[in-house]
Amino acid sequence: MSAVPASSAAHDDILAVSGLTMRFGGIVAINDLSFTARRGEISALIGPNGAGKTTVFNCITGFYKPTSGDIRLTHSDGKSYVLQSLNDFRICKVAKVARTFQNIRLFPGLTALENLMVAQHNALMRASGFTLMGLLGMPGWRTAEKAAIDLSSYWLERIGLFDRADEAAGNLPYGDQRRLEIARAMCTEPALLCLDEPAAGLNARESGELNELLLSIRDDRGASILLIEHDMSVVMEISDHVTVLDYGVKIAGGTPQQVRDDPKVIAAYLGTDEETALAVMEGDA
């Protein structure tokens, strides 16, 4: 594996992105981006449409190979992984990064429970002695299968879908599908959970529930979360740290309060220069 000793300075950072550049032909989607996400915190990545947020996610989760730069993930035991050199299922299996998508990508034909069970593939894989013992119904596998069902039940109860466990995921209401997707990502027992616009399409009540769910994931499960979000009520309420992107460049970073008061951020969102933004802010006050 690509485990190398972590440098002591970055020990608190679960994810360190440095000098990340992603070019598509002549278009520079991300330009020399550096930011970190701290362990046990909720970090948000925000920016206007087309700022390159999802591209960053795609680089982190192995969809794109960055043109240059380094994405380093460090587990709490000090092992660290260079994410751009791991491919597809190893990002989840070895580095323990899970993600959700802007548009829901549940397995619509599988039941809610089965969706959560698939996510526990690796735990079951080890216990099933790579299929063979599972086929023979060895006791070790039965215990593992039961543990997997228990974990799934825990999450189903947590997101209020316990009674609908055997319904096809594609038939659940939109808000339930969103939460099921997060629960599924959590079933992989990730070190870092990447959520791409989890509040998209949710109403005020549902996004309030989402906030609670995410905060409880951070506090009870000790998971670190990296979040892309447009819904400012979510970002401002739950994030510990916010990084702002515009045109593939980091333009600000800090606590939600700091970012909110940064004229550069306002300017980017309004699509104007800084002076106009300052004028708007003063007019507001």
Partner: protein
């Protein structure tokens, strides 16, 4: 009536063999969206492996038939599964992310490669075996026509039923089955959840080939012969069965297999043997005109 009953029995037996092969087509289509044209030849390889194993067992002096059958079954499944795995590894996996037609062309090439390999290695002549399982029952006799149910027919149908039950359990209740269904719906997402998609696809080919091997062995027992070309027609028929039942649907494959088997047998019995293939394929065309997704197929859902 007696004549009809007899044809019904014959049709169900033939249909079981087609169904077992059809499952391999439908599974592979479900998970990688390609038609594995080499699957018919995998069935032929299964028949040859069964023949060779049988001859070896007999020549070392084994005479107890149930043991011979069991050993032949296991060896044929294992060896043919190995072929299925290798075909996927060599001919399809390198082309996985290539354009859509590439793996299909590769499959046609693989089909020729396998049948020519068998032709060169085993000779072009039809290989007969003496009847291994003999005997049977006369169910009833009416107006001078005796309805026969032979032991081999019973074995074919029971083996098929047992395998279907096992296979349904595998797909619907086990981790591997879950992974297979997940890969079928969204490979990228399955990989992001830690599922090794390549491995799951390999397992699909292995299982499909093992089922085809059973069909190959049943064919050998039932008709008492194998030849290097038998995979072609049987493969096309089974593929037709899979399409008829609704490609991608497992119960559909079995239902399609039974339908094709029955149509073919009934047509031969009441009209003409020469035109039995025409009948089978004509019915396919008619069904596809009125039910484009097959008997049990779901309409294609657009992926976002």
């Amino acid at each position: 009536m007696a004549y009809f009953s007899q044809q019904l029995i014959n049709g169900v037996v033939l249909g079981s063999i087609y169904g077992l092969i059809a499952i391999g087509y439908t599974m592979v289509y479900g998970i990688v969206g390609m038609i594995n044209f080499a699957h018919g030849d995998i069935f032929m390889i299964g028949g040859f492996v069964a023949l060779i194993t049988f001859l070896i067992l007999v020549s070392i002096g084994l005479t107890f038939v149930p043991v011979i059958l069991l050993l032949v079954l296991l060896v044929a499944m294992a060896m043919t599964a190995l072929y299925g795995w290798s075909v996927e590894r060599i001919a399809y996996r390198p082309l996985r992310h290539s354009f859509r037609l590439a793996p299909m062309l590769s499959a046609i090439g693989m089909s020729f490669a396998l049948s020519n390999f068998a032709q060169v290695a085993q000779g072009a002549r039809v290989k007969p075996v003496p009847p291994i399982v003999t005997g049977g029952y006369t169910l009833f006799e009416r107006s001078g026509f005796a309805v026969q149910l032979s032991n081999i027919q019973i074995i074919v149908v029971i083996t098929t039923l047992v395998l279907l039950a096992l296979f349904t359990y595998l797909v619907s209740r086990t981790r591997l089955g879950r992974d297979m269904r997940a890969c079928e719906q969204d490979q990228t997402m399955a990989a992001l959840l830690g599922v090794d998609v390549d491995r799951t696809i390999s397992m699909t080919f292995v299982i499909g080939a093992a089922l085809a091997a059973v069909a190959g062995m049943m064919y050998l027992l039932y008709y008492g012969l194998v030849d290097f070309f038998m995979g072609f027609v049987a493969g096309i028929k089974a593929f037709t069965a899979a399409v008829l039942g609704g490609i991608g649907s497992l119960p559909g494959a079995m239902l399609g297999g039974l339908s094709i088997g029955l149509i073919e047998t009934m047509w031969s019995a009441y009209f003409s043997v020469e035109y039995k293939d025409v009948a089978a394929f004509s019915i396919l065309i008619v069904v596809l005109i009125f039910l484009p997704t097959g008997l049990l197929g779901r309409p294609e859902v657009e992926k976002v």
